[in-house]
């Protein structure tokens, strides 16, 4: 076999391999679950908060699932849709805060843990945060909490929610906008954490 022929053969084989790799990646994509099983949904409700309602621990099942709500692009995208659908931006803007607190200033009134955010959305908080437990399912609340957490993330992430169709005045969620805003100026005095604000 001449060298030209073998080069052609190698290129052809490489092309075929690339094709099948692409097919495999397309086939092995992240499965989407549109509705969680009822027992898992029930378990997701069973998180425990610390006595001062800041931070706590989620149910064991959340770790068994692989912490999807803060780490998969699909759930983050769903969270972003929920953020728009349920009018979060009326008080929190695009994360910079309006009448409600900002998610970008690095200061979480009830701490940055997922459980705190889920509890805030589900049960509401004093000074105006309404409870959404009658309006959203528990997995929707977890998806939304994951998105809110990613909005205020300190470090970049390879998992991004879907991009905006409209113009926005801040970088994409997965590019750690919180960190950028941190470095902008002197830190303002913060209110105390917790309900006795």
């Amino acid at each position: 076999m001449t060298s030209a022929k073998s080069v052609k053969l190698a290129v052809g084989l490489a092309g075929i391999c690339l094709f099948f790799i692409a097919v495999f990646i397309g086939w092995a994509r992240q499965p989407r679950q549109f509705r969680v099983d009822p027992p898992i949904a029930a378990a997701l409700e069973q998180f425990r908060l610390m006595p001062n309602a800041i931070s706590g621990t989620p149910a064991e099942v959340y770790f068994a699932m692989g912490k999807p709500y803060e780490s998969t692009a699909f759930d983050l995208s769903q969270g972003k849709r929920l953020y728009a659908w349920f009018g979060c931006s009326q008080c929190h803007g695009d994360g910079t805060g309006k009448t409600g607190p900002s998610f970008l200033d690095g200061w979480w009134l009830y701490g940055p843990s997922m459980v705190s955010i889920v509890a805030s959305i589900r049960d509401g908080r004093p000074h105006g945060m309404p409870a959404f437990k009658d309006e959203m399912t528990i997995d929707e609340i977890w998806q939304l909490a994951g998105y809110v957490k990613s909005v205020g993330a300190y470090s970049t992430s390879s998992k991004a929610p879907s991009r905006n169709d409209d113009k926005t005045d801040r970088p994409a969620e997965n590019r750690a906008p919180a960190a950028i805003l941190f470095n902008e100026g002197p830190v303002l005095p913060r209110p105390d954490q917790g309900p006795s604000r």
């Binding site: 509705r35 659908w85 169709d165």
Partner: protein, 328 residues
Amino acid sequence: MIKALIIAVLVVSVAGCSGNQSALDVHGQSAVALKQLIVIMVIACAIIWLLVSGFLVWAVARRREVRDDEVTKRKMTVGVQSAAIATVIIVAGLTMISFYTTRLLNSAADDAVVVTVKGQQWWWQFVYKQDQNQALFQTANELHIPVGRDVRLELESIDVIHSFWVPSLAGKLDLIPGRKNILTMRADRPGIYRGQCAEFCGLQHSHMALMVIAEEKADYERWRMSQAAPAREPTSDEALAGKDVFTARQCAACHTIRGTPAVGTSGPDLTHVGARQMIGAGLLETTRGSLAAWIADPQTLKPGNNMPLVPLTSDELRQVSAYLEGLK
């Protein structure tokens, strides 16, 4: 055996040409004009193709003699010249036919029915007007038109580019965000014609169907009156409870039911949802069961659509579906 096979293949392939969504089964002025155009084009091109192929075969098969006299040269010159002239005439003729057909398509009479069509991911909103500016009522995914009268559709898009296509009645036309396209159509005979978004517009593009229901004048006026009226008050206790659930829960944030406090605008108007044949833009037939299924789990039925799953108890679900089914 082979004969039977050929007949079977022909029957199957011709079966695709009839039905309520086919550009070859036409029942409207513009669709008829378009079909004539394509038939003329196909026949002309088929004849030309046959002539060219025949000539090629003859040229290959004929006995070749090398002759270099004046007579042969003149014959060849005449042959090439007449082929060139024929080409010019045919192309010009087809262009003229195409031009006049296109001009015919958008000539609406002055008394045309005007309906605003708003394409959205992934459903059709139809706004019927009282007069120039006043909206009379809205419906979704179901367009009723009177037979034998021009209908002027003002096509707009809320989000991305869609395309309005009802093959049996008219050609397709895009809905472009930020501009208004005008499509005129007319149905010559009563019937139900299916239409479909014909421009890929996202995840549920294929589930963005519509129905055009062409009715006689009296039927159309009756339908128009019933649609313009506010929603029917429920009679059964279950449906009454469903109305309370609908207005108290977040259904009312996105959907309008005229005559109730529900005035949301981001979802389809549900004032007469029970009278429509399909829900979810051609996804399911309107029955109480399918309404309940849709509310219980919209994201599994039509992944990616803009309706969130609302946590309702089974009693609330039964009540709401009874209420919606009764909104004739």
